[in-house]
């Protein structure tokens, strides 16, 4: 009897199509990109695919400020955006939790920014912050808060700030929704116990509500840290990493190196280093989440 007719072979035979698909769309590209990161592969010279250079790409990256500055900027961007989104999302969730009428409608409206394509959000904010025709400058001037045209997307720091605003506008609702879910799930008893135990409103929030919400915040942060660490579209549309590379972040850099400069081997090496960043952030929030869940689970 041939081996594929044996009963013990059946599960493997049945799994073969899935395995093949997986191999083709996941394993092969992964191995291939990993391989190219050890070559001097240039898109314009296919033969360079066989140009094995060992760890040279990685060695260059680790000593290259051209890489480390965008890397640091991405970490900073991530930190600023996540914190602002957390605080705003928390505020919005607390306010929406308070109202009794029109809550559903507001919850739906709140999700609108998430439904827009990031590219379009980028274009929208690019026009809002345009120094000549943008509504931001227009408003500031009309209100007499500024007399000149503020170069929102031209000055390095302001551009970073403008991009952060766009990112925050688009995704604060992720935090708001998850934290609101947390507030809905919050047991009322410990809050009342805290009131009886002598807490005023702020102390109740600080010692009871906030610790209860943190697992929900960590979920949002884990999701958003992956999102923001691979931010590309908004930045590309609004500043394309400019001016003079001052808003260059990891993935705009990688895109530029890989496709504009055709140095795909180097770009892939950068991508692998950046992936480690994402993994670290996610792992950090996941650990926090697990720790928080240990006491939250089954407490009542």
């Amino acid at each position: 009897m041939p081996f594929w007719r044996r009963e013990s072979a059946t599960p493997f035979l049945l799994l073969t199509p899935a395995m093949l698909t997986m191999a083709f769309v996941v394993v092969f590209p992964l191995v291939f990109s990993m391989y190219t990161s050890f070559t001097g592969f240039r898109l314009t010279k296919p033969a360079s695919l066989y140009d094995w250079v060992g760890f040279r790409n990685y060695a260059r990256i680790l000593s290259d400020p051209e890489f480390w500055i965008p890397f640091g900027r991405t970490v900073l961007f991530l930190t600023v955006v996540l914190n602002v989104e957390f605080l705003l999302g928390l505020g919005i969730a607390l306010l929406i939790n308070r109202i009794t009428w029109g809550q559903r409608t507001l919850r739906t409206i709140m999700m609108f920014p998430m439904m827009f394509s990031p590219i379009l959000v980028g274009f929208m904010f690019k026009f809002l912050f345009n120094d000549n025709i943008g509504i931001v400058n227009n408003a500031l001037q009309s209100l007499g808060l500024s007399d000149g045209a503020i170069p929102w997307l031209v000055d390095g720091k302001l551009a970073f700030f403008s991009i952060a605003i766009a990112e925050v506008w688009m995704s604060t609702s992720v935090f708001a929704i998850l934290l609101l879910a947390g507030l809905f799930a919050m047991p009322r008893d410990p809050l009342e116990a805290a009131k009886v135990d002598g807490c005023n409103a702020w102390q109740t929030f600080r010692h009871i509500t906030l610790p209860f919400l943190m697992p929900f915040a960590y979920i949002a942060m884990a999701i958003r840290s992956l999102d923001v660490a691979r931010a590309y579209d908004i930045v590309t549309v609004m500043t394309d990493g400019g001016p003079a590379g001052r808003t260059e972040i990891l993935w705009t850099l990688i895109g530029r190196v890989g496709y504009d400069n055709s140095r795909m081997g180097m770009a892939n090496a950068m991508a692998y280093v950046s992936t480690i960043l994402s993994i670290l952030f996610t792992w950090y929030f996941y650990r926090k989440l697990v720790a928080a869940r240990r006491y939250m689970g089954g407490a009542q």
């Binding site: 009342e192 116990a193 009886v196 006491y295 939250m296």
Partner: protein, 364 residues
């Protein structure tokens, strides 16, 4: 001094009135139990005392102060909740010390007082665990510890034992009683369990539909129920109630059986009055097998339909005037279903209620 006074206290949820003007004074260091069926407004009343629920009308005082508009933290109370309401993210030590920490107590004083409370309640080995790592009974203890550690003027309990199994409930009941003897404070305790009410209370407040039905010591409430509601709610198994008419100085039951009007109630009845005769199972027993052999009584013949032997006593299901009646036989004697027995009613312990109002005929 923490006397609690409720004056015409009302609670409304929108148009729905759930507490209808309660008047009650709870003395300093008194243990008062609010008891009544589910939904009668016990928790609402307690929560108004705690400040967790707005007071729609009337006045609540703790000590000399009117507390209507004070938040809970300014009332110097502590409360034990039905679901314990522990802080899930704090360990037992932090749970116990939280109130003191908020009050700005010094850390070593907190440690000392938490250790003391933990000692009283046998929580010392559990201090480092989180609530998720405790059993129901242990959580219950932590909830009590959290209440006593702050040394408030008033303890409020909302059905603190209802989530425990029967055995643990009995133990904790005894511990609460001991605790009150050790830590003398005013206690308001809510329960739907009349056994808890009888065993714990200095005074019982029986509530029904947002009103107070009767207030009194456990013995007063048991021996002199003011209405058929109290009569059936307090005491287990519940009091038998038989419709009757006063006829020539006697109580005539629906089937014509006649028993004399109890001596002490004679002055309160008039001929032709429609009444309800109330008598506890303990006070109807086969002749020679009752609690009290002397005193005024009436003898009736009835057939035992079912008997539940409980060891030294048996509960007998029988029938009088077309109605099921519970009786008790004291002594280790087996009763066969269908056995005809002469029962003696201890009339000095029987009650008469007005059939219309359900109130005791005694005008008290």
């Amino acid at each position: 001094m923490a006397e609690i006074t409720l004056e015409k206290v009302v609670k409304k949820y929108g148009a729905v009135n759930v507490v209808h003007g309660i008047d009650l004074t709870i003395a300093h260091e008194e243990f008062v139990v609010l008891v009544g069926p589910s939904g009668c407004g016990k928790s609402t009343t307690l929560r108004m005392i705690a400040g967790l629920e707005d007071i729609s009308g009337g006045i609540v005082r703790i000590g000399e102060r009117v507390v209507n508009d004070l938040p809970p933290r300014k009332r110097n109370i502590s409360m034990v909740f039905q679901n314990y309401a522990l802080y899930p993210h704090m360990n037992v030590r932090e749970n116990l010390g939280f109130g003191l920490k908020i009050a700005g107590e010094a850390p070593d004083s907190i440690t000392k007082r938490v250790d003391e409370a933990a000692d009283i309640l046998g929580l010392t080995p559990l201090l480092d665990r989180t609530p998720a790592e405790l059993s129901g009974g242990q959580r219950q203890r932590v909830a009590m510890g959290r209440a006593i550690v702050r040394r408030p003027e008033v303890f409020l309990f909302d059905e603190p034992l209802s989530n425990l199994d029967a055995k643990l409930r009995g133990q904790m009941r005894a511990e609460i009683k001991k605790l009150h003897q050790k830590v003398r404070t005013t206690v308001v305790y809510v329960t739907h369990d009349q056994v808890e009410a009888m065993t714990l209370a200095d005074r019982i407040v029986v509530m029904k539909d947002g009103r107070i039905e009767q207030v009194g010591t456990p013995m007063e409430v048991f021996n002199h129920p003011r209405s058929t509601f109290v009569a059936t709610f307090i005491g287990s198994p519940p009091m038998n109630l038989l419709p009757a008419t006063i006829d020539g100085g006697a109580v005539r039951l629906a089937d014509g059986t006649v028993v004399p009007v109890p001596e002490r109630l004679r002055a309160f009845t008039r001929d032709g009055q429609k009444v309800t005769l109330g008598i506890r199972p303990d006070d109807i027993s086969p002749v020679g097998h009752g609690l009290s052999q002397d005193g005024p009584g009436a003898e009736v013949g009835m057939v035992a339909e079912l008997a539940e032997p409980l060891g030294m006593e048996s509960l007998i299901y029988t029938r009088l005037a077309g109605q099921e009646v519970l009786a008790k036989l004291y002594g280790p004697r087996i009763v066969q279903p269908g056995e005809a027995l002469i029962f003696r009613m201890a009339l000095d312990r029987a009650h008469l209620f007005d059939a219309e109002t359900g109130l005791s005929v005694r005008a008290d």
